[in-house]
Symmetry: C2
Subunit: 392 residues, 2 copies
């Protein structure tokens, strides 16, 4: 068991009508001017933005707005946000949306409180020393960014997608009203459920033994996500299922499911990052397309974890050889993904990836990981290319 630090200072305000508390929550932060940062038209159409503005106005809090965040949020909008915040003397960012909006907010927050180019942090050239305070009103259960220390931004020049993490960017509060996720397209709901699964799976498949309690929590979380993802496929307005998925999304990525581990194996996320950068696919769908191939490529380096996962999470009977049990477990995950209409190959993402593109994906992934990716099995460029090929 490894030493660990667990730090989740975000105040979670969870449940129906909680978005009405936004003004009060912002006021508790003693800020003077808020940037309301959001994505497309849905936050406007649904009336959510108007409710938030009314809540801020009721507390006499001034604000400016910046919409236009897209999935795989862009560096150019981050620069625009920094400029706007400087011009308007913004001292608090309110992210209204999902992971992309929160991640974009975190990047703007870094840019406001650190000298130089904010991309340097994502490019691992230097470390941030502060971040503007951020609050989130979550509308998509997926990325877990509302409680996590991480942020992922895509630089348009070369379509490079990179993550950066620090405790400075952890949200001061997160308002989570499951009702706000009810109007999401089914594909996005399913993609979010996949992302949530993967945040815990990437921690579960670790080189160490982690802790029993961590494993038990992780297993409960994964089973809850799978059960409720299927409920939402058939009944997207089911409040309780929306709530289970939303809370699982936060706990899956706030560090809880990795306590005592060696930090997890984030290969599938990194392999997907390159896919997402090059083809702009939905993050969760990209993860589903790649995971099975990664698992089949690496399981022999840690059969005990893959057997435990198959039995405890996927309900595989513990009979037969390790290889049989593990393969049944991987197939069960793929069956689950298919059942919620997620792809299990790059082709099913609608992409006919060429040999040249696979080489490019592997090369970029290898550069980003300094040719040293993962913990269950350390992957080099040739391994990455092999996994992309298996997944095509």
């Amino acid at each position: 068991m490894n030493n660990f630090t667990y730090y989740t200072p975000t105040k979670v305000v969870f449940g129906r009508d909680t978005d009405k508390q936004v003004g009060q929550l912002v006021k508790e932060q003693n800020c003077k001017k808020v940037l309301i940062h959001y994505g497309g038209q849905s936050a406007k159409r649904s009336g959510l933005l108007d409710r938030i503005k009314a809540s801020l106005e009721a507390e006499h809090i001034d604000y400016v707005e910046l919409g236009g965040v897209v999935p795989n949020p862009r560096l150019s909008l981050v620069y625009e946000g920094i400029e706007l915040c400087k011009k308007e003397s913004v001292d608090f960012i309110l992210a209204v949306g999902g992971g992309s909006v929160i991640d974009s907010s975190k990047a703007i927050g870094y840019g406001m409180t650190n000298e130089g180019d904010v991309w340097d942090f994502y490019d691992k050239k230097r470390q941030a020393t502060a971040c503007l305070p951020i609050g989130a009103v979550l509308t998509i259960a997926a990325a877990g960014s509302e409680m996590s220390d991480s942020s992922v931004i895509t630089k348009e020049e070369g379509w490079i997608k990179r993550g950066y993490g620090s405790n400075y960017c952890r949200c001061k509060f997160a308002v989570m009203n499951p009702e706000l996720t009810m109007t999401l397209p089914d594909y996005q709901t399913a993609s979010g459920c996949t992302d949530i699964m993967m945040h815990t799976m990437e921690r579960y498949f670790d080189q160490s033994r982690t802790m029993e309690l961590t494993d038990g929590i992780a297993e409960a979380l994964m089973k809850t996500v799978m059960k409720n993802a299927v409920i939402l496929r058939d009944d997207p307005k089911n409040y309780d299922a929306r709530a289970e998925i939303m809370w699982a999304g936060s706990l899956s990525h706030n560090g809880l499911t990795g306590c005592g581990s060696e930090g997890g194996d984030w290969s599938t996320h990194r392999l997907e990052h390159e896919l997402g950068g090059l083809f702009d696919v939905a993050h969760g769908a990209g993860l589903a397309a790649v995971w099975g191939s990664w698992a089949r490529y690496v399981w022999k380096d840690r059969p005990d974890r893959f057997v435990k996962f198959a039995v405890n999470v996927m309900g595989v009977e513990p009979n037969g050889t390790d290889a049989e049990i593990v393969e049944k477990g991987i197939c069960a995950v793929e069956d689950f993904y298919r059942s919620i209409h997620m792809p299990t190959s790059i082709k099913e993402l609608g992409i006919d990836v060429t040999d040249e593109q696979i080489a490019e994906l592997a090369r970029k992934c290898s550069i980003a990981a300094k040719d040293n990716l993962g913990k269950v099995k350390v992957l080099h460029e040739a391994d990455m290319a092999a996994i992309y090929t298996m997944a095509r």
Copy 2:
């Protein structure tokens, strides 16, 4: 499913040798003078206090000391601590010990930042509006006070034991080195494990359905505690088991295992509070002595929860009537308590409680709860007396 707020800002630094980081962690809090608050001689004898002082001195942090905290921490020492802190201009309290020391620190922290008598808060006469910042170096896994919002103090005059909770008192950091718990007497280890179990059980037996994810986490936690409590009975120096219990202790009482519930049913804790106030028993042992009688008295008001608990946590086969399954579940809990040498009656606590004392316990408990205790079944004075009688 109910709305909830989840707020656990405490930075947990967990693992071997982490107590060496105390000076640095205190320094991050930008304080000028620390009160080192502790219990008896064990912290001195073990060298822990010396290590902590060296760690503070290395960061040039000034400190004063106040030892002498006892189980069921006393109000008189709290007053003494407040006086000392005022005289010495202390602005940070470092609690070195278990729940009693942390609770005493919280009470001193309230007293330092609020006018008037600090007992008023525990007596529910008014609310605190602040607390001095507190850090904990945990040496006993039990109360969960290192991450909780609660504090329990005993007033010697009338031996009245009362709890008070607010977010102000949540620790800034908690240093958790499982090795520090290895020298605890076996009885105290077992009593701590019982307390940890009960913090989740009191949340689990709730009037609402809570959330599936919360239930899954709670069930994993309770199973982990029972398994590792038995390991520690036979092998008290087992690091991994100490670590599992220590982390379970924090998660059991930081709010995680109650998310989405109606707040849980804290009857067993309140019934024990009176026992602890009158007879000064170990808190966990007192809980073990009372729980089975409470469960048998109330289960019919919520058979589904008791059946779920029996099957998912205690491994009872789901065959037979509810009454049979529930009774098997309660017996399994009592068997577990006996297996770690915990009492399952007041007599086994070494107390021959008289009819008059039972009447007094019920009367005091009823006054404290305004004759309205619990959620699974609301208990009045006569119910409390009946449960004490069943438990005698």
